[in-house]
């Protein structure tokens, strides 16, 4: 069965609404895009949408109680919530380095979760 999926291209202020038609998962036609970037965007968003996930994890003994982290590369969109859940129980010990690996190969994606800032230990 031929089905239509709508995507809004995010690559420029035009924000084209791109229509993608597929049959049994096979992309047949893309229209509504004003340039080639829009077509590529819609196909990627249909076949393999990915997002870089950013959140925070707990830190013991730091100048702040949490440190921001991010996946070192985009992960499949359907895993975004799971990535955040998997990090909910993580607690690091200060000092934390910038780019420190918090969780390697998260959910078997081959992507590491790393810190995005250094966090010094609290001096008392």
């Amino acid at each position: 069965m031929r089905r239509k999926h709508d995507f809004i291209c995010i690559n420029c202020p035009l924000s084209c609404t791109v229509e993608l038609f597929e049959e049994n998962g096979e992309v047949q036609e893309v229209r509504g895009n004003e340039c080639a970037v829009g077509e590529k965007y819609a196909v990627t968003e249909y076949l393999d949408p990915r997002r870089r996930v950013t959140t925070t994890v707990r830190v013991r003994g730091g100048v702040l109680p949490v440190v921001p982290v991010a996946t070192s590369a985009p992960v499949p969109k359907r895993l975004v919530r799971e990535v955040v859940r998997a990090l909910a129980g993580v607690e690091l010990q200060a000092p934390v380095e910038m780019g420190q690996v918090v969780m390697p190969d998260i959910l078997g994606t081959g992507v590491d979760v790393v810190t995005t800032r250094p966090l010094p230990a609290k001096r008392d």
């Binding site: 809004i8 995010i10 202020p13 004003e34 870089r52 950013t54 995005t116 800032r117």
Partner: protein, 422 residues
């Protein structure tokens, strides 16, 4: 009597603007630069902006806020710039003298060669949007909610309504959702979203959070804590339409209703502000109406990209150095005026007239297939096609070196329909 410190330059605020300005002033040869920051660390708002999307122009790379800040912090730490943390500037005068205070040094008096204003902006609050109702806990600005969650590690609420679809509101809709809260919806009084398309898609659509355009909050319920809000559809004059009210239960109302440049210090120093930007009127060196006081970043006007903040900071930092070194010469006074479909332009005037000038402006209304043009006394010196311009996205244009001289009367920036395409 407190000793008076006389550094070459004082930069007020150590967010992206202040960091960039201090580094640029240093690179331009200033020896003693003081960077004054009221928070306990450098970076300004960036440490709490943990999402990515920063730096695609400056670094040709997409970074998170903390990563963008760290690149500048690392440089500042190696630069010999003297950093004063937990330090609040209380007063700035038109002769550039200032009073600051912190718990280590007490009261600090300074008479710097130049001052760079880099205080950024702050959020419009509930009192500026005038929502009737009680005064319960749980009404919070989006940036404040962001600070609670991303810096303090605290959750401000569990069931959230967001008023305003600016970028911070959209980003917080996603952030609250990922932290386990339920975001009932985003309500926007205008008939178009306020934020970037990227954020609409990745913060709302990805998480099935509804966006209600032409809607507003008309009442806040709850005595101690927010218990619900009344939302209603608005007409073309943005007035609520009777009969469209709906009660939405929630414990938190997040406001993302705009940003205002923070210019209390500037005003005390007699710096002239522009009515359309809310920030200082500046020239091509980012020098304000008060000699030797420069300004950059969101204190001048709210930029949507940190990259532009950094660019203006570098101009201001170099400008401050030129001034202190006695190299800054005014050759005239040329106003930069907004023309067709342009709301405002920064800088608003030109005085040195000896260099290429980068202009930043916002349009009044969305328009397709246009030309962005810069005219010097009616002569086109810059013309570029743009497929689309929209009010939320700042536009850049430039005046090439050599296009200006003492005899020029005005520069006009305009957006015109692209005739070739029409």
């Amino acid at each position: 009597m407190t000793k008076i410190l006389r550094p070459d330059a004082v930069v007020i605020g150590a967010g992206p603007a202040g960091l960039g300005a201090a580094l640029a002033a240093r690179e331009a040869g200033l020896e003693e630069i003081f960077l004054l920051e009221r928070d306990f660390e450098l970076g300004g708002i960036l440490p709490q902006c943990i999402h990515d999307g920063f730096g695609s122009i400056v670094f040709d790379q997409v970074l998170t806020g903390p990563e963008y800040a760290q690149r500048f912090i690392d440089k500042v730490e190696r630069s010999g710039i003297e950093v004063f943390l937990d330090t609040m500037v209380l007063e700035l005068r038109s002769d550039r003298s200032l009073v600051a205070v912190n718990s280590r040094d007490g009261v600090l008096r300074m008479e710097p060669g130049a001052v760079v204003l880099a205080m950024g902006c702050r959020e419009r609050t509930r009192h500026q949007v005038l929502i009737p109702g009680y005064r319960p806990a749980g009404v919070i600005c989006a940036g404040a909610a962001q600070r609670y969650i991303n810096i303090e590690g605290l959750m401000p609420g569990r069931r959230v309504v967001i008023l305003g679809s600016g970028d911070i509101g959209l980003i917080m809709a996603r952030r609250f959702t990922l932290e386990g809260a339920e975001v009932e919806g985003v309500y926007e009084i205008m008939d178009h979203p306020g934020g970037l398309t990227r954020n609409l898609v990745q913060c709302l659509h990805d998480f099935d959070i509804p966006l209600h355009l032409s809607h507003t909050v008309t009442f806040i319920h709850g005595r101690k804590r927010v218990e619900a809000v009344t939302v209603a559809k608005v007409n073309e004059n943005r007035k609520p339409i009777p009969g469209t009210e709906r009660l939405v239960e929630c414990d938190t109302l997040v406001l993302s209703v705009g940003l205002i440049p923070e210019n209390e210090l500037s005003k005390k120093a007699g710096v002239v502000l522009h009515p359309a930007t809310g920030g200082p009127v500046v020239d091509e060196l980012m020098e304000t109406s008060v000699e030797g006081i420069f300004a950059c970043g969101n204190v001048v006007c709210v930029f949507d990209l940190v990259d532009y903040v950094t660019f203006t900071a570098e101009v201001a930092g170099r400008g401050a150095a030129e001034f202190v070194q006695g190299r800054r010469r005014w050759r005239g006074e040329v106003p930069v005026r907004p023309g067709r479909n342009v709301r405002f332009v920064v800088p608003q005037r030109l005085r040195c007239l000896d260099r290429e000038v980068e202009l930043y402006f916002r349009v009044q209304r969305p328009e397709r297939s246009v030309r962005v043009r810069v005219l010097v006394d009616g002569r086109v010196v810059h013309s570029r096609k743009a497929r689309m311009v929209r009010p939320p996205e700042m536009v850049r244009a430039s005046i090439p070196a050599g296009a200006l001289n003492e005899g020029v009367r005005e520069v006009v920036v305009e957006v015109t329909p692209d005739e070739k395409e029409a």
